[in-house]
Amino acid sequence: MNSLEMPIIIGGKKIYSNSTSDKYIFKFKDLEVHLPKVNDKLMDEVKAIDTNLMLELKTNDILEFLRRVGMLWQKPDYELKKMLYKYSPQINGQTFEMLKHNIGLLIAYISFKSYLQEVLGSELPCREILDDWVPILDSEVHAVPLGKLIHVISGNVPVVGAFSLIRGILTKNLNIAKIPSGDILTILLFVQSFSDVDPDHPITKSTSAIYWERGEDNTINEFLNFTDGLCIWGGEQSVDFYKRKNMKCELIEYGPKIGMQIIDWSAEKDVNLPMQVARDMSVYEQEACLSPQFLCLKGDVESFVDLLKEGLKHYAKVWPKPQKEIDHYAHMNFLLQANIFVGNEVYKDENLEWSIVVMKKKDRINLEHPLGRTIFIYPIENVRDSLDYIVPNVQTVGIAPKKLAYELRDEISKTGVLRISNIGRVDYPRLGTAHNGVYLNRLVKIVSMEREKEYVSRVFDVPNRYFDEFSTIF
């Protein structure tokens, strides 16, 4: 059994455990990972990190730092990347291929300064607002960070933690990543790599990656008491756990949600579409809130299913399904057998790499979705019937063809859906898209200074004597 002694990071410093009693031990098949606990002394060190460090930076300094981190991770022989590729499949169950895809997404996100500038520009009133006072009508406004942000990260999609952290950094917050038990390495190595870029950089010195367990109420409460914002990515239990803590800080919640698709299809018009559906089903093993779990299909179901099967076979080679516990396969079989019982059509790969259930009956079985590449197809006569299937908790709706998205978007936006995506690109939110309805403005406060009384940016046409009655006020 290999043993991996990992540090936690506090303000850029690597902290290793001194003894067996002050560390967590994570056991995997052929690997043990050790991670230090946060004791009182370390807690004080986290609290002592100066939030002003980030305020010294201009946005360009931040973008440049992130670009350098991206360059580092692009290097094939970068030690931490090699370490991630070596150990991560054992820890988070991701296949090497999916891990590579995720790291590729992360590098792409941070390596282009102009891209991140556009992110800032699209998600804040203007990108200069972080560095300066910006005139807006009769005021000048400036965005200041919330302060200390804790990111409670889920382990399902490795890039999610880094994505959350980067958004906190972009908005000049001091950031503490809570390492997910399901994916210990990704965020930890990402934060560790900051020191390789510049150990004295304010971003390095203001970023931490620590761990706690669900039952450690004292530690958790102490962290939550000094934080200004909590970004939670996680499943129902995790989100509920923190919500019950009655925190006074800003809560920025991502999930739990589901994805679905609405498709008006004919093979003549778009023979590749089922392949794109297979891609969206496969990319995050349906563990992400944007991943489709069911779709409404107008068109020839039989030929669609035939092509979808081919697509799923293809993506089983591109991104092999990670080896899961036997429970997952048992769960899939329960679901498939139950659907056979009620008369739905069931298609499955012999190794349960994927499955498709065509819903002939609207009665559903009281059984949860097993995730891991299973999709329910609801045949519909009219595309507007799909609106009945948009249930609470649907976050992302992929729609094809595009003109159907324009046709349905007003109705869909009334249902609570937060993103209408392109099918086959569910993991590439386009610029301007808000994740789970949250823009960067949630991570800052806008401070306003009103201009002099005499300063007038707009003149309003007011009927004569309109304010006479209120002349003492004006």
Binding site: N156, Y254, Q337
Partner: protein, 373 residues
Amino acid sequence: MKLSDNTLVGPEFDCVSFQGDSILAWNDEQVSAYQEKFIIEAFRHHYSNSEEYRKFCENSNIGLDDIKIKADLVKIPQIPSAIFKSIDVLSIDRKDIVKRCTSSGTHGLISNIYRDEITLDRLLNSISFGLKELYDIDINGCTVVNLGPDTDEAADIWFAYITSILNLVLDAHNFMVKGELQCEAVYNFINNNSDKKLLILGAPPLLLHFINYLKDNGLKLNLKKGDIVKTAGGWKKHTGIMIERDEFSLLMKEYFNADEEGILDAFNQVELNTVVFECNKKSKHLPPWVKVIVRDPYTLEDIGYEKLGILSYLDASSNSYPCFLLSDDLGILKKDCSCGRSGDVVQLVRRVKKVEAKGCAIKIDSNLLRRVK
């Protein structure tokens, strides 16, 4: 034993199963002959009388002619437990239902199982059978201390109901009133009846509650050899206080003076029509009318003995619904037991984890799609 070919399944089943010789001493051939006859007859009965089940068989490409011999038993379509949480599955007229049985709904949804008189009688017989065959307890042969409610208070809740009906076959006393375990009454009753053979029965959380009462009041019981402490029903929603079986046994030894061989467990789930009892070697013995097939979680194929897989059941004792189940449990099937009884024993290992999504996805289920018009 020779099985007749042309008698009705009902009376013969009951006669052979519950009134014959010790069937846990049967050899493999006898068990095979029994199962070939009665499980196949049960299949034919449910196929012919349950529309839902027949459709399931048709959807699984199984017809009456496909199930003829013992080797065909593994092909009998088995219903996932989840179906009973969604659909009423019946092989009888509704007017013949005498008891609606529901699961405790640990995970939010409850199973509904409808039993007629025949089915309920056989369930009770399976209890009598287990007590007699495994503990040599006959009618009025022992006094039951049930840490549960009486039949009225138990209502449809399966585990509470099944323990409460013991008074139909034994001298049973119930000690839960309006949801409160009467610990003092239990303690006094046991002390006042120490001359009788006692069977203390309760779900693990209730027994632990009683132990804590004894601990808090500085009391201990003094059970004698031959008395039995029987757990059943599992920890359900009380997983927060769950302790390992070994540790639990130590507590029972300390506070009850229980004999190791007298600390035993029993298994049942609302969808199964048989209570499976544990012998003093801690093996759960299957009566011949229940065939357990351990299935590969990937392929659902029969993987035989000594391998971990999904436990599935073919229980011939049900008349009112097809008791052919694909359960939510993982376990192992074993052959024979050091206690000397023959036949299969089943070891339940754990529930299949249908865990919460790790990530930001919520898994869609019927609660979400129930709103679909």
